[in-house]
Symmetry: C2
Subunit: 347 residues, 2 copies
Amino acid sequence: MSDTVSRTELSALGEFGLIERIASRIQITQKSSVKGIGDDAAVIDPQGLHQVITTDMLVEGVHFDLSYVPLKHLGYKAIVVNLSDVYAMNATPKQVTVALAMSNRFPVEAVDELYEGMLFACKEYGVDIVGGDTCSSTSGLIISITAIGAVEKENITYRSGAKENDLLVVSGDLGGAYMGLQILEREKAVFKSAPSAQPDLGGHDYILERQLKPEARKDVIAMLAELELLPSAMIDISDGLASEAMHLAHKSSLGIRIYEEKIPMDPTTINTARDFNLDPTTCALNGGEDYELLFTIAQSDYDKVKGSPHFTVIGHMTDKASGYQLVDKQGGQHELKAQGWDAFLKK
Amino acid sequence: MSDTVSRTELSALGEFGLIERIASRIQITQKSSVKGIGDDAAVIDPQGLHQVITTDMLVEGVHFDLSYVPLKHLGYKAIVVNLSDVYAMNATPKQVTVALAMSNRFPVEAVDELYEGMLFACKEYGVDIVGGDTCSSTSGLIISITAIGAVEKENITYRSGAKENDLLVVSGDLGGAYMGLQILEREKAVFKSAPSAQPDLGGHDYILERQLKPEARKDVIAMLAELELLPSAMIDISDGLASEAMHLAHKSSLGIRIYEEKIPMDPTTINTARDFNLDPTTCALNGGEDYELLFTIAQSDYDKVKGSPHFTVIGHMTDKASGYQLVDKQGGQHELKAQGWDAFLKK
């Protein structure tokens, strides 16, 4: 971007002009991408693999707030959250399509920034943008992304494959993205009441990055392959640990038991939660947007994850009748509840 | 739908409740659909075929007007316009994913109606809804659909494959959907000035159906296979004949010549255009939304389409230097221009 602020109206380019501008920046890097943007549809060569496909829609004012989310970060995150769903199937993402609707308040430069973020994510994760649609909206920005991945049939991990007594394992740490959001919302409120105030974001780098520039656990899929560890079930954590654990248990027709003291959290997350008078465990259970992977493994595979800094065993699968349980630090047992994140209740 | 008008708020069901309600109505019918809604991603078995993928986004107030488009029709059309892109690759659509954003002014019953139309289209075309996303919007309804199709590698028809002297062929007739839209817009204007007036839609059934319930040319793909006719290039007509013909010529690095007198139009379209003081040819060239297929064939294949009520030869491909030409009924030659449909200029 140049230092001088320039503004080109979308109407000056027109739909086809904009598509050409976007297409000129996109390169095809994957062998399976036979044909990208520029025909009625993209063409994919599955190369003998099964394909997984997932779609997510992000709506301004519902899923993101442009008053504190830079467009470049938004583009990055929009891609990453879709790839996370592909990894949750133990598949490798290869292609995405991008549909954008945006009001005329956005200049062409805004589209450029958004695509810069998306293309950066695509480069990081080895994914091609092979298609899309760009149109105007009557209000705001809407991004709909579809991701395609490839996987050998026998390596697909469904939510439904967990067995009784399997260990419940989570990657990384939880609750950080939610606490990052609390910091951003607090500073937005401060800014509204005193626009000349500088935002106080110091010391919160880790959780701000968890919120603004989350990563999908590509590395976890690679580690699992290297460990020759095929999870019996897997799901990604987009809506909070509680909700996702219950999905996994429900689909596997089992109960689940999670130990509060085992839930991995970063010290920044814990300290920030306390600053906000929030219970850190509640943030991990219900916060959402962490994009970690939650999976189950046979007890006989325990040695493969034992001592790994990337994986934490947080519980195990029980029989269905035992229900969904959280064991607190004092050993008390509570019914696990998903407050989750509900798009229709939030507004 | 029952006769009593009921209204259930989206917030009463919540996001997961709504997803479950939708999922319960969806059945998987295609062998290639290994896993549908209910996991992090859907799973497709390509069965040795190449896959094509295409995405379209429809925005209320830009692409459709709910004051005269019933939700059931909108759902049907939203699916069909995507399938049309799959057919244009000479592929067979197999799966779709559906992402919806809608404001709280829509009750659950509106989602039901929309899905009723989508599921009806899916049944008609032998397609499974395998995934999706449903969330709230701050205003209006946005529908983003991604369609996946399957095709043998050697049968894919790109826009770029046309050869000089190939014949240019179009299916069906053109301009009808645009004239249907004019009728609907006229009656909306009448209704606004006199709300008690009954809409005057008589005698326009054909063009109204072209606009409100368009069909994708599944039958054309079947006919081409039966005729053992592989087009050298193909595109679907969503933005008007002129624009699509120029895309095809541009991608094939050729010129194109279209004969006005050959352009197939239904008498209802011609008569309605005249009633509106519009040139019928202009409506066919620039009207859009006809979803017919435009393709090129070698001259040696002419006998395969000759006399068919489904196909009309409307011109041929020329060398690039000859440009894009329209020959009028008096033999005069004009440069073909695409006024096309431009989402950013319309509003």
